[in-house]
């Protein structure tokens, strides 16, 4: 048992990060290969200036018109994405494990703060699910895989929360937590998770097209 725990909390973490890292590089190469084969003409109007203009415009909460049309969804989405990175990176137990294995450490929230923020994340995910069931326009576009995606994102948070509170089956919850966290890292580059990397490029592309071809704003 101990050697299994040691493996999933030691080498397996690095393996997952490597798969994540190389998966990302692979996806980028594949994307550029596709562009070079099919749509090489977009280089004629891709522009750094308009790309960044568009990316930054979309980073400012409620600047883009479409975000103002559904303020509730976008507020929750902004907060969710912020916490999604902030909470695991600044989580005391994560920082502490990293410090003990590689001697780097950085700021960590108090446990009670992360615990509350974890609940906020879990409720945003429930909101995303409910939205996909309740709002007709969204329901129409929803595939079963959208729910699986939300479940995979939610699992590390739910198991982490339950483990932290030591409600029941503590050891198994931590094991489930670590495995689901690693599963998520491994899957990010290869599934719909890749919207994380593709979103800035979509913006760059649309921004450039609107900026240098149509001479218009895209937000």
């Amino acid at each position: 048992m101990h050697s299994f725990i040691h493996f999933i909390m030691g080498p397996m973490v690095w393996i997952s990060f490597m798969i994540f890292f190389f998966g990302v590089i692979f996806r980028f190469l594949k994307m550029f290969k596709l562009i070079n084969e099919k749509e090489i003409f977009i280089y004629t109007y891709m522009s750094l200036k308009y790309s960044f203009r568009s990316i930054f415009a979309w980073l400012i909460p409620f600047l883009p018109v479409s975000t103002r049309k559904s303020p509730v969804f976008y507020s929750i989405s902004y907060i969710f994405h912020l916490l999604l990175f902030l909470v695991p990176v600044c989580l005391l137990s994560h920082v502490l494990l990293i410090e003990e294995s590689v001697q780097w450490s950085w700021f960590a929230f108090n446990d009670s703060v992360s615990d509350t923020l974890t609940l906020v994340i879990i409720f945003s995910l429930i909101f995303f699910m409910v939205r996909r069931i309740v709002v007709p326009e969204v329901k129409f576009l929803t595939k079963p895989s959208d729910f699986i995606f939300i479940l995979i994102v939610g699992l590390p948070f739910v198991t982490g929360f339950l483990a932290f509170h030591q409600f029941f089956a503590y050891r198994w919850l931590v094991i489930a937590h670590v495995l689901s966290g690693e599963l998520m890292l491994i899957l990010i580059p290869f599934t719909r998770f890749s919207h994380m990397f593709m979103a800035p490029f979509t913006r760059a592309y649309t921004g450039s097209e609107f900026g240098s071809v149509r001479h218009a704003k895209d937000w």
């Binding site: 725990i5 040691h6 502490l96 003990e100 108090n110 446990d111 030591q166 931590v174």
Partner: protein, 130 residues
Amino acid sequence: MKLKQCIFIMMILLFVTAFSAYSKEDIPTADNSAFKHPQRPAAVFDHDEHNEKANLEDDCSYCHHVYENKKLIKDESSEGSSCSECHPLKSSLKNAIPLRTAFHKRCKECHFKSDKGPVLCGECHVKKAR
């Protein structure tokens, strides 16, 4: 939602709270007063019983060690002083191992090696029922 489903969820909630509220007897813990704002419940550690079970009674210096110029002095022990007298809260030039890491490294390393004893946060920092 149907009534049956509501009742089912209520049952689960009751079950969970009952689970988390059963009271444990008072277990001795390692002193955590050296930490300014302890984040976790103090770690369960019954000094004498532990060392008897783990066969450490003849080797006090395994934990209560003595260093001179960053070199471990064998066969000398420091059980008169607590870990926090030498290990600061943040790593410094004088001692690179902060107190928290000192505890964790000392305790977990051996548990992993001997395949016995707790290794996960909550197995040492056990939440007590109020």
